[in-house]
Symmetry: C2
Subunit: 350 residues, 2 copies
DNA sequence: AATTGATTGGCAACCGGTTGACAAAGGGAA
DNA sequence: TTCCCTTTGTCAACCGGTTGCCAATCAATT
């Protein structure tokens, strides 16, 4: 390889389209222009301090002039690093993920990383497929509310840095919102409004967060001497909420927490179309404060999740793991917050 | 390279984490196991028909046994192909993209492609950055309602296959919903309800689709002898819709089309909180039929877009371009459809 | 001025596939 | 049986970076 003339496989990236004649500049081109060895170019560009300031300057100038861009594949081949992190959400149509995605994406762009997004459509199987596929090409993975088993997540985490959002898995980094704050305020509020029996419409069995929310609600209700029961476990969708209506009416509770806003909206609409008035006959609360939760009549009271922070924080922790920096202690869980709107009111008959 | 012992850079992908000892199997491992040359393995795995059925079988068996997975970077280096396509949406928090994303993702998974998603947060600059970044690593790009100029899009398209959704750019493949059907039905309906003056709250100036919708509305109104005017051009968000309220009230129209549902919802809520009753005093129509458009009171009447089809179709066309198959004639534009709900009614005083 | 130690740059061997050119092997026709 | 045409497998040169090792360079110390 003494001369730098290109021969052989001409299927290079830039030559792919008819319009573009020359292929993209390489470090070899820069080396020629700057009068140094390619390896020096490589070092100047990716190992700050390894070459003298003078040579580095010459090289960056040359790179600039040629409008050089690293070939990420060539870099990834020996190093395995791609400057990409994956994010898998359980359902892309759930507005709760909006801000998680945005948070992660913003954090990623800021550090010159690319975010790769996939969804599992609430299926553990699809989730695993997506995770496996991504694992080969990303530096780290974020799983938002995964439906996978702990073992599967542990297995993924043994191969690349993994951070889970709103779930706790032994040995795997996680970012979880602190439900306590919001729930405490919510239950206190309900108690003050005369409610004494509360029910909870749970999300999927596999949802760790659904469990977590229930535990939190149960604990606070006990504290206030209120009765609390789970009425159903259903898909975390508007339709899932609808299907909880019968169970809710059968119970004696005057206030209902739903696992998330989607379910709360579904439940409310179903009950209303059956003739119930909200909140006079029943108070309803959701979780997350998603887009659209204030469109309903009455607007939904909910416990807001710090979705954006969760995304940002998850990305940061992936990066820490990738860069092998010890993050020190776990960062504090960002708090939830009670948002009172129109779907909660005084208990019927209180 | 007569022996296959690994030396040198040990930073390979699988060795990145402490837990995993051996690095991933390569075609060289398969070659040894199957007793053939590595290049034969390569051909057997990616050039069907190039090797005899018997050898192919031996090789696939060996690959199976080793649980082999191609190294996408190694493949991408000489070929430039990554089995990945990019999708850039103008705003990830706009529910209208839900189904576009899902459609593209489903189509991609089905063809064993990976979808890479990014958003531009309604900024042409961010969009260009994202597009440039993606361009290096994807086989093709889908731009949904891009805010970029025609020239910039053309430039991108000169490097890799590009398909735009809901926009038309000379020389660039595009997938556009047929607005005519829905608009025709909607205007006919309004005419039948006694409306004679209509206004349009436009989206961003750069939005080709906003123009398109307006032209369509204008044409149909002319046909019915109705008056039609544009009252404002605002961001395509709930807040943008809110800000249109004053302009709408100042006009004489008894029915308003908004560029999309987000704006329609914002407008409706703003007007309602100012004391107007919908649809008695004003009829409102949106476009797209997004998640949440039926949560409002009254539920929004809208012109539904074939969002899922747009995503699927865009992906297909990218793949056609990548594979150089001539798609023949342009596929027909998927139609829109009028969805009548509660926000439209008889014209005031009619 | 000679010796020593720290910087800096170059060489070459990788990473793991792909592919053009070519030779060997196999099959059919003459 | 011989010759020719396919089919099939091998060789080797890539794709474009990264990095361990070593030699050359340069400054500082004695």
């Amino acid at each position: 390889m003494t001369d730098t003339t290109k021969a052989g496989g001409d299927a290079g990236r830039a030559a792919a389209r008819p319009g573009t004649a020359k292929s993209a500049p390489t470090i070899y081109d820069i080396a020629v222009l700057a009068g140094v060895n390619p390896s020096t170019v490589s070092r100047a560009l990716s190992k700050p301090g390894r070459v003298s300031a003078k040579t580095a300057q010459k090289i960056t100038d040359a790179a600039q002039e040629l409008n050089y861009q690293v070939n990420v594949f060539a870099r990834a081949l020996p190093t395995g690093r791609t400057q990409t992190v994956g994010l898998i959400v359980s359902d892309i149509t759930n507005p709760a993920y909006f801000e998680v995605i945005r948070g992660a994406e913003t954090a990623a762009s800021g550090r010159d990383y690319t975010l790769m997004l996939a969804e599992s459509a609430e299926s553990a199987e699809l989730e695993l497929t997506a995770a496996r596929r991504m694992l080969a090409t990303v530096d780290g993975l974020i799983l938002a509310s995964p439906r996978l088993s702990d073992e599967e997540i542990g297995l993924l985490a043994s191969k690349k840095p993994v951070v889970v959002i709103n779930r706790s898995v032994a040995g795997v980094a996680s970012v979880v919102a602190d439900t306590e704050v919001g729930v405490t305020d919510a239950v206190r509020h309900l108690a003050a409004m005369g409610h004494t029996a509360i029910s909870y419409v749970a999300g999927p069995e596999r949802s760790w967060m659904s469990q977590r929310r229930w535990e939190s609600i149960k604990a606070r209700c006990d504290w206030h001497g209120m009765q609390a029961t789970v009425v159903a476990s259903l898909p975390p969708t508007v339709d899932g909420g609808r299907r909880a209506a019968a169970g809710v009416r059968a119970g004696a509770a005057t206030a209902v927490f739903c696992y998330n806003d989607l379910m709360a909206i579904g439940l409310m609409r179903e009950l209303q179309s059956a003739g119930l008035t909200i909140p006079e006959e029943l108070s309803i609360l959701g979780f997350d404060n998603i887009f659209g939760s204030d469109f309903t009549t009455p607007p939904l009271s909910t416990i807001k999740s710090p979705l954006h922070e969760l995304g940002v924080s998850a990305f940061r922790r992936v990066l820490d793991a990738v860069d092998q920096v010890d993050a020190g202690q776990e960062p504090p869980a960002p708090p939830t917050e009670l948002v009172l709107r129109g779907s909660t009111g005084r208990a019927k008959g209180a």
